[in-house]
Amino acid sequence: MKILVTVKRVTDYERKVKISPDGLSLVTEGMNFVPNPFDEIAVEEALRLQKAHGGEVVVISIGHKDASKEIRQALAMGADRGIHVIAEELDPDAVARLLMKIVEEEKPELVIMGKQATDDDANQAGQLLAGYLGWPQATFASKVEGLDSEAEKAQTPGVVIAGGEATVIREIDGGLETLKLKLPAIVTTDLRLNHPRFASLPGIMKAKKKPIKEVPVASFGVDITPKVRNVKYAEPPARKAGVKVADVAELVNKLKTEAKVI
């Protein structure tokens, strides 16, 4: 089975982002970049499915030329080869239409993507790609067993493939939903699907020899003009300083009269 996985290069979500003085963009200089954490879960799921069903895992990144580092990381985890579409920051619609071209050429049976990227939280590319391809989609894939379960320790895939169909469990309000999709299909991954593996030293050595095909964005003939314009970034309002109370009675009183929570 051939599986395509997407990996976006994002600013490290552990770091505080800075807004440019004009408020129109984020400062990327001096920032540390990492693979989008949801995409790492997608890579992990693809590798587990490959272990169970054989086939090939192809990693795609669309973005900055330095995103080859994030592709290499996925290759170090165990993916087979990479495709790097070198482009400036694109909106999700352009990403989906570029991915459609790659899917048409690669003809995978499954595309696994993070449900959203932690930088812009758009949560659109997977759904748009399914729409453009006319493929079935299951977003927010999760697992019944917890991440501390024996199934997770045994690295069992959460997505079940059998008889040309994928069975996907999704978390919904107040419960779980189970979907069956005819392949080929799009699956986007949620946080509780798996624990992504670390890049191992032997994996890193092997990854150096794995191919990454670089493709300039212009070669696809896709109109990538943004359809959405960023108007403004703003910092969240600063938290007010706390107050000290003298005793429990004062605390209870404040909770009643000021916070009005009891």
């Binding site: 490290d12 552990e14 770091r15 540390n32 990492v34 693979p35 954490p37 990381q73 501390d148 997770e152 320790k153 690295q155 624990h195 593996r197 670390f198 890049a199 191992s200 030293l201 032997p202 890193i204 050595m205």
Partner: protein, 476 residues
């Protein structure tokens, strides 16, 4: 006794400290009377919570006059019973003295009060790109005064050395109430004996540290964390030699753990090993690239280890979150071991060059005499420091287990002496290791210890019975 049954000095102490500055309720006595050893029943007579050095001084003068023994107290995260008050002592907690004065970015120093939490100092100085490079798992609870009084070690010693190297000046109050200002803010001061160093690591038996001027270092740069699989401790030490002589990066940490330790952490926390294959032992390394980012020398070195067979496998953290995950496998050993069972702990060191031979001899001796004991080894082996934890087998009663551990200690300490090591690398002596101090210190040294104690605290009222037995002083 006063009308309500408390001794007169206690009312005087209350007058000095204010109504909320003296605690005598059972819950406070219990929690302030113990540290992380939890083997001694706490029994202090009262808890004093001064807010100023002047109050500490007045209180110590009062205690001196009334012959009240005093236990100085910080975050109580110690593992040797140094802050335990089990004999009706007055606990002097510095926790309300936690002022952080402004950082001096030019001199790279900061003046803080002794009760400042270690982590709060880190956060305070980080804004200036500086840090006090003393760090360990308990830094969110431990206090600067305690760090200094115990000459704390931790995970960065291989790069920065001990607390001793990072204290410029000290303010100390002696038992009679005299306040000493030692060395001020001077980097250089060659005017006789360095009394500041006398108090660093003295475990609270010579004076009460109330303020300190700390020396700061630039914050470590974005570092590389890796967990490497090695066959045994000797291989880990070979790896340490290779890391020390490699060019193009600094070694920030070099931590050893056996698979037994990893297994407990993974089991207790419900985690999967980051390595595909388990190995008998592991090394966690943290590498700091040179200023300006360097040229990836640390990555090349790590990859080279696998190519040359120095390590059989390894994983690299690719983000801060992954770095923290790898670190937690090391940092949570102590805590998860305690969850798993009853432990007898030793924290020992030998010269790095002797560590391989020593450990082999120790394991052989243990297996011969105590084949049913499980031994958990981990530690800062780059400093020659190994934590040796013995877990109580299920078939032994607690009392019998600890009785038999006296035998393992005798065995261990003899080997330590033979290899030129120390019976307490960083935990200190306190109460727990007091009976064994003679394995690491000569009679002549112990005689000098007592002489110094006599000179500063003739009545033996300050942290009595810690490090060595109380010297009954002449009551003047």
């Amino acid at each position: 006794m006063t009308a309500n049954g408390s001794p007169p000095w206690l009312e005087l102490a209350r007058a000095i400290l204010g109504e909320d500055g003296l605690l005598t309720d059972p819950a406070s006595l219990e929690s302030y009377g113990r540290d992380w050893t939890k083997v001694y029943a706490p029994a202090p007579c009262a808890i004093a919570l001064p807010r100023t050095t002047a109050q500490v001084s007045t209180l110590l003068r009062l205690a001196h006059t009334h012959h009240v023994p005093v236990v100085p107290s910080g975050g109580r995260t110690g593992l040797a019973g140094g802050a335990v008050a089990a004999q009706g002592e007055l606990v002097l907690s510095l926790e309300r003295m936690r002022t952080l004065h402004p950082v001096d970015p030019i001199a790279r120093t900061v003046r803080v009060e002794a009760g400042a939490i270690t982590q709060a100092v880190h956060q305070h100085t980080a804004a200036h790109g500086l840090t006090w490079p003393i760090d360990f798992a308990s830094s969110g609870s431990s206090q600067v005064g305690g760090n200094i009084a115990t000459n704390a070690g931790g995970v960065r010693v291989v790069r920065y050395g001990l607390t001793r190297q990072w204290v410029i000046g000290l303010q100390v109050v002696l038992m009679g109430g005299e306040v000493l200002e030692l060395n001020g803010a001077l980097e250089k001061n060659n005017t006789g004996m360095d009394l500041r160093q006398l108090f660093i690591g003295s475990e609270g038996i010579l004076g009460v540290i109330t303020e300190a001027t700390l020396k700061l270092a630039p914050l470590p740069r974005e570092s590389r964390v890796a967990l490497l699989a090695v066959p045994d401790l000797r291989a880990a030490l070979t790896l340490f030699g290779a890391a020390r002589s490699a060019q193009g990066f600094e070694l920030l940490a070099f931590e050893y753990l056996t698979d037994l330790c990893l297994d407990v952490v993974l089991g207790e926390l419900g985690l999967t090993s980051p390595l595909a294959q388990r190995s008998p032992a592991y090394v966690l390394v943290e590498l700091e690239p040179p200023e300006g980012g360097g040229d990836g020398a640390e990555d090349r070195w790590l990859e080279g280890l696998f190519a040359t067979g120095l390590v059989s496998d390894g994983v690299l953290a690719e983000s801060l979150a992954q770095s923290r995950q790898l670190w937690s496998l090391r940092e949570r050993i102590s805590e998860t071991l305690s969850k798993r069972g009853i432990l007898h702990k030793n924290d020992i060191s030998v010269p790095v060059a002797a560590l391989g031979d020593f450990t082999a001899a120790m394991m052989e001796a243990f297996q011969g005499a105590y084949p049913d004991f499980e031994i958990f080894l981990f530690g800062h082996v780059g400093d020659g420091n190994l934590h040796v934890n013995v877990m109580k087998p299920a078939h032994l009663e607690k009392a019998e287990f600890f009785a038999r551990c006296k035998g393992t200690d005798a065995l261990l300490f003899k080997l330590i002496r033979a290899h030129g090591g120390s019976i307490s690398a960083e935990h200190g002596i306190g109460l727990l290791k007091k009976p064994f101090l003679h394995y690491s210190r000569t009679p002549a040294e112990l005689r000098i210890f007592r002489g110094i104690k006599q000179a500063l605290d003739p009545e033996g009222l300050l942290n009595p019975g810690k490090v060595f037995d109380r010297i009954e002083g002449v009551v003047s």
